[in-house]
């Protein structure tokens, strides 16, 4: 991977020397994603989406008359590697903006580099710490885990329930979401009556679920985690014959979760972006055009089913291009200011209204509550 990048860079350099034309100025956009490794289910669709969009924009004549060039690295979700690539993007590749950081860990490791170099950076990772407190050069597109907790608790209250048994993975995502859920539970009118955890490689969580089942007054179960854990939790809940409503996080929002959990997934609810139910949205829905368009383009380009994670990259890229067009230049400072002024942008995650105090720009309405029915997503409304 690294070698092929080096090789193509060398080839590009040789070409540039050979042609040495004046007109071919290019806007360089950097990206480092977890294309391989444990978080590759995030980074892989993100990388494919970026590549597809850059080709699309270039085929249509580029931005402000200049072609885009994507410099992409694979950090495998490893914060150390991500930081090295961040430095390389700034110092060697001299990019004007960066999209990336599939995981919160990688993102947090890169933030100081871009803050110091004054390069706008749009993260594709989930946790709220990325944009709270606000950092001048850092933005992000996915919903936060805090919003996911809020949305789930809202739905639980709507069903007239309030006592929740929480089970979470000990990985970065599960840990962060557990903390956020505990934080917002009080103000959402929800009481956490059990708080259990499981490791990322655990094959069975029936002891933890037995404890939750026996917790006094428990009315619903919430699982914060991604990877194989949620599928195993879901299967174990059914194995134990627990009839309580089961909520999963937005981290499992892909078709493979339904396949892995099988029939046990019936009735599971989770907050997710409209992308998963693109075809089922009513025609009057203002988001329909965007999500249907991206879904069709992605599935045609890659032959794989669309996931919300690729959608995060789509939103980041479109916002960046819109900002460059608006600013009329690709100067990092001008682009940053234009991103911050994004208003009414319709992305796959929802309507984005950025401001100097909000570098995410999404609210709870951006999440849709979905339920798994007959092996497919259905809107709960």
């Amino acid at each position: 991977m690294k070698k092929s990048i080096l090789l193509s860079l060398t080839a590009a350099a040789a070409l540039a020397v050979g042609l040495a034309g004046p007109a071919d100025a290019e806007i360089k956009i950097g990206s480092t994603l977890a294309v391989t490794g444990g978080a590759s289910f995030l980074g892989d669709p993100e990388a494919k989406t970026l590549k597809m969009l850059v080709d699309q924009v270039n085929a249509a004549g580029g931005v402000n008359g200049e072609k885009l060039e994507l410099v992409q690295y694979d950090d495998g979700g490893n914060p150390n590697k991500a930081r090295t690539f961040a430095t390389r993007l700034v110092e060697d590749d001299e990019v004007v903006a960066v999209i990336g950081g599939s995981t919160t860990g990688a993102t947090m490791a890169m933030i100081p580099v871009f803050e110091e170099a004054k390069i706008p950076f749009i993260s594709l990772a989930g946790a709220v710490v990325i944009i709270d407190p606000v950092k001048k050069w850092v933005f992000k597109t996915p919903h936060t885990d805090r919003m996911a907790c809020g949305k789930i608790f809202e739905d639980i209250r709507k069903r007239g329930l309030s006592k929740v048994g929480l089970i979470s993975g000990t990985g970065g995502f599960g840990k962060s979401m557990r903390q956020q859920c505990l934080d917002v539970a009080g103000s959402a009118g929800v009481e956490i009556v059990a708080d259990e955890t499981y490791g990322p490689d655990d094959a069975d969580v029936t002891p933890q679920l037995t404890k939750i089942k026996n917790a006094p007054g428990v009315q619903a179960i919430l699982n914060a985690g991604f990877g194989q854990g949620p599928a195993i939790v879901t299967r174990n809940v059914r194995q134990l014959g627990i009839a309580l409503p089961l909520y999963q996080s937005h981290g499992v929002a892909s078709k493979s979760f339904i396949e892995l959990a099988g029939e046990a997934a019936e009735g599971v609810r989770l907050p997710a972006s409209a992308l998963l139910v693109a075809d089922k949205l009513p025609d009057s829905d203002p988001q329909k055009e965007v999500v249907v368009g991206y879904k069709a383009a992605y599935e045609k380009a890659t032959g794989q089913p669309v996931s919300t994670f690729g959608g995060h990259a789509y939103d980041a890229f479109q916002m960046l291009v819109a900002a460059m067009k608006k600013a009329g230049s690709a100067k990092p400072a001008a682009v940053r200011d234009a991103i911050e002024q994004t208003k009414g942008f319709m992305g796959t995650a929802g309507v984005v209204n950025m401001s100097a105090t909000d570098h995410l720009g999404l609210d709870l309405t951006a999440f849709r509550m979905l339920e798994i029915r007959k092996g497919d997503w259905a809107l709960v409304e």
Partner: protein, 290 residues
């Protein structure tokens, strides 16, 4: 009471996975003193090959048989291409070669298959069996049954068969084994092939419960190795008991203490046992005979 039973079932389920992985370590260790760190990758290959063969239309038993044969071939190739060529190298060098092989196999699986999580249907459906207010999945019983069969097979192999004794002799003193007419190259190839086949079987039995992906082997190998150390490296009975014990300790800790301390508790027990009995619960102490 039903709580205790549920925790026990959970411990047996997880423990059966560990025991199956731990059993795979014993043959190569008995033949050469090498701890094969690619054992987890054999488990992964067993699961992944079955998944992809099944998805390509093969019935589950055929897919599983293919996975066992193909993984055994990978094991024999690993011995032929990497271990045999390092003839005369120390055991530590050979162990490091197996670490390299594990990284290679993981990378190859990532490219050859994909990076997604997979599973295939359980052998006897997913309807839990209820006993005394607790439930256990039929697949857990399959795993326990598989672990028992593999254990019995290995026990008979090492104590009753001439080939098994040749394996032990090779480990004890390779030169002397050659002098009495044992084909040590064949013994090594056989042990890698058998270990890989046992690993593949473990992967096939466990995948409906644990799920599998190209990198599933690392974590399994670590727990399986810990279980094998606890029971006594090289002893099939030790591997079986060690695996079930680690699983039960984890489940009881998660149930009665806190799930946060689950892994820690298992490792504390292992450390304590190894402190008092460095050879593990059922391992023979190494003796230098003059």
């Amino acid at each position: 009471m039903s709580e205790l039973l549920q925790f026990t079932f959970s411990g047996l389920t997880v423990g059966a996975v560990y025991a199956l992985v731990a059993l795979g370590f014993t043959i190569i260790y008995n033949a050469s003193g090498v701890v094969n760190f690619a054992q987890g990758e054999f488990v992964m290959l067993g699961g992944m090959i079955t998944v992809f063969a099944h998805a390509a239309g093969a019935p589950l038993p055929a897919a599983a048989a293919l996975a066992v044969v193909a993984t055994a071939a990978v094991g024999i190739l690993l011995n032929k291409l990497a271990i045999e060529r390092a003839r005369g190298a120390s055991v530590v060098t050979l162990i490091i070669i197996t670490i390299g092989a594990s990284i290679f196999l993981r990378g190859a699986a990532q490219l050859g298959f994909d990076k997604q999580l997979h599973r295939f249907p359980s052998f006897s459906g997913d309807d839990p069996i209820a006993i005394g207010g607790a439930t256990i999945l039929p697949q857990s019983l399959w795993m326990l049954f598989g672990a028992a069969v593999v254990f019995a097979g290995l026990y008979l192999f090492f104590t009753r068969s001439l080939t098994g004794k040749a394996v032990l002799a090779t480990a004890n003193n390779k030169l002397a084994a050659q002098l009495v007419g044992i084909d040590t190259d064949f013994v090594m190839a056989l042990s890698f092939g058998l270990s890989a086949a046992i690993g593949a079987l473990a992967g096939i039995l466990a995948t409906p419960i644990t799920l599998t992906s190209y990198d599933a082997g690392t974590a399994l190998a670590l727990k399986g190795f810990a279980a094998a150390m606890l029971g006594g490296m090289g002893n099939p009975f030790g591997a079986l008991v060690g695996g079930l014990l680690v699983g039960l300790i984890e489940a009881m800790t998660a149930g009665y203490l806190s799930s946060d301390y689950k892994d820690a508790a298992a490792f504390v027990v292992i450390l304590a046992v190894l402190f008092a009995m460095p050879q593990g619960l059922f391992g023979k102490s190494a003796q230098e005979r003059v």
